[in-house]
Amino acid sequence: MKSNLSVALNLLPGVGYLHRGEYLRGALDLTCFIIFIGIGRVLLSEGGVFLSLFVMVSSAYRMAYVVHVSAPIVQQAGRTAGGPKTLDPLGMITMLKPRWWVSVFNWPWLYILVAAMVVAYLSLETELSWTQIVMGAPFAMGLAKDFFSPDWSLLPNALGYAKQTIAIAVLGTFYGILIAVPMSVFCAKNLMSTSSTHSVYYVARWGMAVMRATPTFLLGLIFVAWVGLGPFPGVLAITVFSGALMTKLLSEAIESVNPGPIEAATATGANLFHVILFSVFPQLPTVFIAISLYCLEINIHSATVLGLIGAQGIGMPIHEYLSSLAYSSASVYILVVIFITVGTDYASGLVRSRIK
């Protein structure tokens, strides 16, 4: 009776450590065990407690099994086996009659359940509903039918708007480059290494991080309030966002240039400005072109979305047609957007592969 109880107690995580006098680790394990059961209770009510218990115990078994398997090998090597010297139920089962399901106990149940719990929690948070996917299908089919019969008479109109969107993106990218080229120097650690320039580096880095973290959408709203409706606030929003993004990419490129030529130029008595102009920038043209094209791709995408908040471009008519349920009209515009996006992707990919 007493030995049975001790076997059961040994199944609790952390008890093995307590036996060996490692009280801190044992207490830690037990605390984690209790917290784990608590999480199970909160997320999945009573069933969760049993599930948690099962997981923990099977995990403990897993460790015991490893000890059991390794013990004879360790002993053979003339060393004493680690772990609690108690009966190992799983080990006994395995020894007596190996069964396929025994291995199921050895799965990493702890990790599986943690992952399952996270997914369950996220599904609750996002109101995931598989039934809705099936039930809503007919409505989606109706919408898709409208989409696949586009009203081609609107095409010239759509192309006009598309031209505006591209203009917003290109101009925004251009001004973004004008911001990014000087700013990237201040954000490059290898150029801002002296004590006097170090603070400049941190201020610039921090400023760029804030600008990059601000969604283009919010920037658009701010600039619409600032300079009024029209494509111009879109240009400004894209300038700020892509300027910050390019600063990050370009400064990382600067940080990875070959330091030799920088040192050589410094040793001739050149000042920092000259070093940058003659030793850093000449190492970067291909990277610079690649970064600019990549940003242009993103900006064409952003310029479309910015239309929704009044920055014109092709996003605006799409928003209007969609809200008035004129799907067959909207579809022409959306197809033009898809065409432009895919086209720029392809074109810039082609250019980037050429300049390598």
Binding site: E263, A264, G269, N271, F278, S279
Partner: protein
């Protein structure tokens, strides 16, 4: 030996570690060809880099023509001291001429700092430096397409374009084949003899040091263990520098 270039207790330690360069008192005359030898990690590079303050010395002073370099502006100092590195350290996409022109950057003053375009005079100097190292025909060639030896010669031309009083060379031939090594060493010797430039070369090939240098400084574990003429450097000194204390 003269004291055109003199160090007084020059020392460097990185952090709280032992001296990478123990306090050193040396003096070199104008127009000497000095070979600085010693095993890896002996403090040769630290010694050389303290001269043009690519590394700031922790203690001591360096005098160039009686002037303390620590009280000079870094720009003024580096204009007078040219440097060649182990790697050519050329900007790959620029032409050989543009790379040599980098040697003239230290002379840009005033408004030219903001609008960096080189004067005709600078370009002529750069071209004649290229001619001197035998690379004039490659002036317009991008440096990526030059061989290692050619690149190092362009690097020497870059140092030459500075028209400096002192030329520091940090293992300039360590990554070259023997033939190119000889070419580069001959160039340094030529600059030393024709222009009267004081040359300090870090080397680990003892035969090259004996062949070209008239003064040898040997470092071991941050300390000077030999300072004298090239002829007087004997096998016993060699043993002292390169063979460990076990013998």
């Amino acid at each position: 030996m003269g004291d055109f270039l003199r160090t007084a207790g020059l020392a460097k330690r990185f952090g709280d570690a032992e001296f990478a360069l123990a306090p050193t008192d040396l003096a070199f005359g104008r127009g000497q060809f000095v070979a600085v030898i010693g095993p890896s990690g002996a403090g040769k590079t630290t010694f050389l880099r303290c001269m043009n303050r690519l590394i700031d010395p922790s203690e001591g002073k360096v005098f160039i023509n009686g002037q303390n370099i620590l009280s000079m502006g870094k720009r003024e100092l580096r204009r007078r001291i040219a440097m060649v590195f182990q790697q050519p350290n050329l900007v790959p996409r620029l032409s050989a001429l543009d790379n040599v022109l980098i040697g003239r950057l230290g002379f840009m003053t005033g408004m030219r700092t903001l609008l960096p375009c080189f004067r005709r005079e600078d370009k002529m100097k750069a071209l004649s430096a290229l001619d001197r190292v035998g690379m004039l025909e490659y002036a317009a060639t991008s440096c990526v397409s030059l061989s290692g030896g050619q690149q190092q010669r362009v690097a020497v031309a870059r140092a030459l374009a500075q028209e400096a009083d002192v030329l520091l060379a940090d293992e300039p031939v360590a990554s070259l084949d023997p033939e190119n090594a000889t070419k580069v060493m001959a160039l340094l010797k030529d600059i030393n003899q024709q222009d009267g430039v004081t040359v300090l070369v870090n080397l680990h090939q003892i035969d090259l040091a004996r062949q070209y240098a008239n003064t040898i400084v040997a470092f071991k574990a941050g300390r000077v263990v030999y300072f004298g003429t090239g002829e007087a450097f004997m096998d016993e000194h060699y043993q002292k520098v390169f063979v460990t204390a076990a013998s």
